[in-house]
Symmetry: C2
Subunit: 242 residues, 2 copies
């Protein structure tokens, strides 16, 4: 059976990969991915064939991977974080319908919400919502509705893709929407370059977050009404009495 693994490599640092992910990659002939992710793992898997396609060529990248597998090479498609959270696993299963001879196996990784939370402390201990601010593939009206309702429901909210060159004011717009239900002093946190060189974290209030400039390598956490700062960490209590 021809085999293709869809592998989440975690936030970046090799040691944050699962053992299963390293074994899957070791078993492969070809590793396919976006250039930046291939560069993160390349040195750890010498002797493999690496194929890359640029950003926004996702469909092409998936087909390339299936063609390798269909030709008899054990293949991996790698994604940062987990392939199932804003990653390629959905598209891989859809394109996989054209390649019934290829077996697809998902290998989980640590997504930015989980890895970033560990850097900040414990912001996600209770119910949370994950929302991407990128409107490349989603109408902004839908994102807006989710921000409003998630804030009204008092979820901890984790924002992916909070900014880009073209969307420099999206985080500000998102904060204004959340501020309709969440208090100005809601504890928030940002983490950039999670698990990579230059990792940085910062705690602030929702009012301060509104005026912060963050880049596309930043994950943003907005607390619920119970979240507090504990000794420099962002902590959402679960309800256990200390």
């Amino acid at each position: 059976m021809n085999k293709i693994y869809v592998v989440g490599i975690g936030p970046g640092e090799y040691e944050k990969m699962t053992i299963q992910a390293t074994k899957a990659l070791e078993s492969c002939d070809v590793i396919v991915g976006y250039t930046v992710y291939v560069d993160l793992v390349k040195d750890h898997f010498p002797g493999k064939e690496f194929l890359t396609t640029p950003m926004r060529r996702e469909t092409e990248r998936c087909r390339l991977a299936f063609e390798q597998a269909a030709a008899g090479k054990t293949t991996a498609m790698i994604c940062s974080g987990d392939a199932g959270v804003y990653g390629m696993s959905g598209l891989m299963l859809e394109i996989g319908e054209e390649f019934p001879q290829v077996e697809v196996e998902m290998v989980s990784g640590v997504t930015a919400a989980v890895a970033g939370a560990a850097v900040l402390g414990a912001p996600l201990i209770h119910d949370f919502a994950v929302i991407s601010l990128s409107d490349l593939l989603t109408p902004w009206e839908k994102i807006e509705k989710r921000l409003l309702l998630a804030a009204e429901a008092d979820f901890v909210i984790c924002l992916y893709n909070p900014s880009s060159k073209k969307r420099h004011d999206y985080l500000q717009r998102a904060c204004d929407l959340m501020l309709r239900s969440k208090a100005e002093d809601t504890v928030c946190g940002t983490v950039s370059q999670i698990g990579r060189d230059g990792e940085q974290m910062r705690l602030c209030t929702l009012r301060e977050l509104r005026d912060l400039q963050v880049d596309m390598f930043t994950t943003v956490f907005v607390g619920n009404s119970q979240t507090r700062a504990v000794n420099g960490h962002m902590v959402t209590p679960r309800g256990y009495r200390v």
Copy 2:
């Protein structure tokens, strides 16, 4: 410096742990955890001292871990999945304030939402909300509000703790609330015993989910309006054109 690691061991299977988690546990003198989790890792870390406390003794368990670390033993507190998602990392940071001489380090793991999604296919590819149905530590009214608003926002919804002996009808109640905004034929999935012996997955509609009996080792996924069944998998498209 005295050191304590708060380690997410992933869903259960040893190979689904991160390399960082295995190294942290190898470096420890003492490993503390709920009995079931200790049993999952015990055989892989021979020669370690293991300390367990029963369920619902969370505060006691955290203090026990800090006392070990304060006495000079490198210590780990283990949780299933990730320690930051309905886990012990928040309580550890709160109790850690009483032990300023002990450094706390979080080590991320693969949480059930991510691991379960990989079994089902790719349900979490787009914005999602994670909600626990346990009202042990949260008033049911709050859970109800979150279910209603998350459904109205068209989130994919992942349910933790969907059932227990005392809460046998909670999943049914949750489905009835979500059915106010989500269609009866919304694609849903359940995964039980993720990454352990007896792992099982099942796809169904939201109407069918309503009448399903699931146990406390099950994680439930309710699709958004775009989620569909692809070749026996649950897939939420991100919007890439195939």
